[in-house]
Each structure stands twice: as C-alpha cells, then as structure tokens.
Amino acid sequence: MKKQIGLAGIAALVAASLLAPAAQAEDVITLGASVQLTGTNANTGRYYKDAYQLAIDKINAAGGVKVGDKTYQLKLDVLDNQSDVNLSVRQYVQLISADKVNFLLGPFASNFALSDSSVAEKYQIPMVQGGGAATQIYTRGYKYVFGTLPPADDYYASTIEMMGKMNPAPKSVALVAADDSFDVSVAKGTRKHLADAGMKLAVDETFREGSADFSTILTQVKAANVDAILWTGHETEALNFIRQMKGLNVNPNGLYAFTVGVPTADFRKALGPDANYAYGMTSWLPNPSLKDKWFGDAAQFAAEYKAKFNYSPDYHAASGAADVETFAMALEKAGSLDPKKVRDAIAGISFDSLYANIKYGADGQIVLPQVVVQIQNDKLVPIYTTDFINKAQYPTPAWDKR
C-alpha cells in the first residue's frame, strides 16, 4: 500500500513538472547556463549562479522585462557541469535543444567559455558570458558571443604602467603562467607589454594547470634575483605559490603580483598575514559611483549579495549580474524574442550598470581597465588604474623583515 502511494506521488510530481512549464511558457523568458557548482572550480563557479539568480530576482521584482507590449518574467535554468569542460558543452546543447531556453548565460573560466560559446554560435542563440577573458574566445569571428570580462592580453597593462612609475622602477621581471587558454593569453599579452615598457623578462616559465608544487620555478626565480614577479593562474595555485615563496625565502626586490585570488576574501582568510603586500587586480570594486537601474548602485548590489549569500561578491559576481542586465536591456530594445534581433540589440547596447558602462566591441568583448589592488594590513586597497589612487607599500620587504 505504501509503495502505491509513493508511486502515485511520483506520478503526480512528474505530471506537475511536465505541466508547469507549459502553463507558464507564454510569459517567461528562460536564461540557461551551465556553471561549476561542484569540482575544482566550484569555489568561483558559485559567484555566477548566485549573481545570475540575484539579478533575475531583482529584475522580476521590479516588474520583469517589457518586450514589445508584453511583460515577461525572467527565469534561470542552471546546470552543474562538475568543472568538466566536455560535460558543460553537452549541457549547453541540452539547454538549447531539450530545455528550450531562450538565451544563454556563460560558465566560469576561459577554457569553458571557449568551448561552450561554439554551441551558442552553432545554434545562433546569443550568449552573454562574464567568466571568460581569453582573447581566443573573440578572435574566431563569432557573432553570437559577448563578454563582460576585459581582454586577458591586457590584464597586466595597468600593473606594468604602474611599475614604470615606481621608485625604483623594476627592471627585470619573472613571468610565471599556467598553461590553460586564459593564462596563455595573459602571458602572451604581458610579454608584449613588458617589451614595450623596456623591462627585461629574466624568467619566463609555464606550469601545468593544477600544479601544487612550485619549488623548481621558485628556485629559478630566486637565482635570477628579479625585481618583480608577475604570476597568472588559478586561485588555489596562487595560494600555493605564495606559501612556497615564503618557505623558500624568495624575495623579489620590488613586488609580486597575481591576476586572480588577491581580491577575494578567501585569499586573505587562507593566508592570514602572509597575504599582505601581494598585488592583484580587479575589473570591479563595489563603488557607489557605479549607478544601476535595478540595484541603485554597485555598493547596494554588494550589500544585497552579501546579505543573501553570506559571502562578499567580487568582480566575477558583478560581471555575471551585468550579463543578466544586458539581456533585460537588449530585450526591451529589440522588442522581440527573436535570437537574431536580440543579438543585434546586444551588439549596439550601451548602458550604465553596477559593473561598468556596458558596451561591447566589434569582436563582442567589453574593454575595461584593470584596477591594481594591494593587500595592506589585511585590507584590500585600490592602488592604480591610470594614475595612483592610494599609496602603494613599495618595495615589498623580505619575508623575514616583516
């Protein structure tokens, strides 16, 4: 008897789940995404799911999106790709062909966005993604892919400009980069920026994505007695690198900087006082001067995000929220749900948001300067964009003199 009730219950649930979307299909626009909710990238993947959801809830609470003379609510369809690129590609195909989502939001990380965006292009469904910065994503002539992270090639541009104005200015540099598409892009651009600035590339090493041991690279860096280390990779590797720097007593004469990790609260929590003096970068800070139609401004966005999810947003989250807002804006402008028309609307859009002024280049990628940040006494301090914002703690003291 119990079993029968159970079966009946399941049948009712299945029927309900089959009927529900059909009943609502008329007035709902679904945004689909496959995001890293588990696996090695889950720590950053969560920013995207949470930011997408928060932005969608906020837009719906304000009345939804007006397309033509009809008002729609937004809905999020998010799948967990388990930090597996191959699975994420399959999930985007599933989102389009089985789940019939209207438009696509992106995954985290360049190597995912690189593969997943091909699905969007193939099916001609616009994808706005805030997780992939590699220029490779945008140099393939794709028409349906847009991105809110600035080009990876230029991540170190503002840092190198700042280094030129330091006293004494670093002359020899060690570049340490992971071997995935984002970091290869960063390294390629950084080599060019260093050459333009007349700085010597004394050590140029690539490590395998996911490496836990940097002792060989650090020994080479130490022997080269460089003035600066420019490092790019993933947050967990950045933590390992700094801890091993201290263990092997590696002290560049000027500074050491990282593309990722430094702006997150996790980074400071994991390293404690050893996080001090590290330079990093961010394309976004929760600044009240960034006005937003739905959230008011970036500071209010950050406060609402923190209150809802119990951790602070960083640029990944702001970039993700801007992707949802891009669709809301473009849909109203296009006045249609037709993917081609929405795509054209996105290409010509320009609006102020909590993240930045959103405007996509001809290749689909936004252009934004990176703000150089430094951790000073356990606090994240913005240092430089095109000029100094705050005083840098420079040069960095040796590990045993702190």
């Binding site: 080479q220 967990t236 933590l239 996790d266």
Partner: protein, 285 residues
C-alpha cells in the same frame, strides 16, 4: 647551486610523496585492493588536522597522531563493513567499489567542508634556514622526517611484531594463517586501518605545504599509484625511495624540460618500470 637546491626540493617533496603512497602500497600488497579512494582518504586526513588546528588550537604536528587514530577508525570501519564484502573477489570489483567510495567521500567532503580552499597555516609554516648556501624549508624537512619515521615504524610492525607477522602470514597463505588462529576479517580491517592512518598523516602534512580542497584526492591517488608501483609493495623503505625518485625526477623535469611536463615524466617512469621489471608489482611480502 640552482641544481643542488632543486635536488634538495625534490628529495624533501619525494619523502612526502612516499608517505602518501605507503598506505596504498600496504593495502595493495596485503589485501590485493588497489584503493582508488586512497587520495580521498588523504584529503580527509588533511581536514581532520585542519579542524584540530583551527578549532581545537592544536599544533598540526601534535594533531598528526590524533588524526591518524581518527583515520585508523575510519579505515577499520570501511574495511570491516564494506570492503570485506569484496576482499577475495575479482580485481574489477574492488576497483569499482573503491572508485565509488572516492566519489562519495569527495562529494560528502564538499557538502560538509564546502569547496573553499583550506590551508593548515601555523606561524612557522614559512620558516626556513640556510645550510651550505641552500634554503631548507623547515616544514618540508619535518614532513620528510615524519615520512621516514612512519616508514620505519611500519617496517618494525610488519617484521618484528606479532600483529605484523599475522598480517604477512595472511597475505602469503590465508588457510595456514587461519589454522594458527588469525581472524582474517578483523586483520584485514586492521591492515586497511593502518593504511588509512598513514594516508591521514600524509594529508595533514600535505595541508601544511599545499591547499586542501575536496578535489585533491584523484591526483593524489594517481601519484600514490605510480609510486607504489615504482617502489614495489614489499618494503616500506622502497616506497619512500620510490617517492624520492619521483620527486627528484619531477624537479629535474621542471628545470630542464619545463614544469608542464612533470606528470608526463612520472607516468612515463611508471611505463618504463612496468616494461623493465614487470615482476616488481608482485607481492613478495
């Protein structure tokens, strides 16, 4: 000088590698189980030390033996209630069940500990001293010493104590061991418990050198597997030597060929060892 420093780095790292593989080699050699969840057990051991340190305020090196006891209990229960079901069956069954166990442990760890990065960061974690112009990271040296001490303890247990004789006897001849009053299911559980305790110690040391996340297990299993085969399953010290060998090979590869090729070399070594000395993997204990 760079070369000497890199050799030193490789040797110190290799000691820890050896300790990681020690538990796997023991379980493989005695129970004939290739434990694919070994890396996940290392990860769990790391979290035990992490919480003893951050919440309990216990120094991580003092926490190591406590974590080993906890992990011994975990391993004992896993073997007694789960793995004993497949202990004498085909290799494929043990591979499947330990692979499943790896998935379960990894995702339980994510649910319980979250995907956040954890580091076991005592004030002396970055301490180092100079020796003949080389920089010796103190924690890595301590981890190396712990690995040697545990290998020696395991050797002593297996070769000089009654329990060790019983373990070896069971591995060599189950029927004869039974006739002498050995209860195999308890003995298997004890053996697996010892292997898990060693994994736990390796996890605590790993957390002091690198980061803990729920996902570190798979790559540590792979590394332990390579070292267990290169070192052989017969003698704990050979496993430590295997670890040091792989540590040096990886460091030299990073120096001369490039850090992206480290794994190619360690798995390449595995192939070479299997081709040249296929009998090395046979149980000789």
């Amino acid at each position: 000088m760079v070369l000497a420093q890199i050799l030193l780095n490789g040797i110190l790292l290799g000691g820890l590698y050896g300790l990681m593989a020690l538990g796997m080699a023991l379980v493989w050699g005695v129970l004939n189980i290739v434990n694919l969840s070994h890396g996940a057990l290392i990860m769990l051991g790391g979290y035990v030390v992490y919480y003893l340190f951050t919440i309990g305020g216990i120094d991580p090196f003092v926490a190591l033996p406590i974590a080993m006891l906890v992990m011994f209990a975990v391993g004992f229960l896993l073997q007694y209630y789960l793995l004993n079901l497949v202990v004498r069956s085909k290799m494929l069954n043990t591979l499947l069940i330990t692979f499943g166990l790896d998935v379960v442990l990894t995702y339980l760890a994510q649910l319980t500990f979250s995907a956040d990065f954890r580091t076991i960061n005592p004030p002396y974690a970055g301490a180092n001293f100079a020796l003949f112009g080389l920089t010796v990271p103190s924690v890595r040296l301590a981890a190396f010493v712990v690995a040697i001490v545990l290998a020696a303890a395991l050797w002593f247990l297996l070769h000089r104590m009654a329990l060790g004789r019983a373990i070896r006897a069971t591995a060599q001849n189950l029927v004869a061991a039974r006739l002498y009053g050995v209860n195999p299911s308890v003995l298997y559980a004890v053996t697996f418990g010892i292997g898990t305790a060693l994994a736990g110690a390796a996890g605590g040391l790993y957390g002091m050198i690198a980061n803990l996340t729920p996902y570190i297990g798979a790559s540590l299993t792979a590394k332990s597997f390579v070292i267990a085969i290169i070192g052989g399953l017969s003698n704990p010290f050979y496993v430590i030597f295997g670890g040091i060998f792989v540590g040096i090979a990886e460091s030299l590869t990073a120096l001369y060929i490039g850090p992206t090729y480290s794994d190619v070399i360690s798995f390449g070594l595995l192939v070479v060892v299997l081709v040249l000395r296929p009998n090395r993997t046979l149980r000789t204990s």
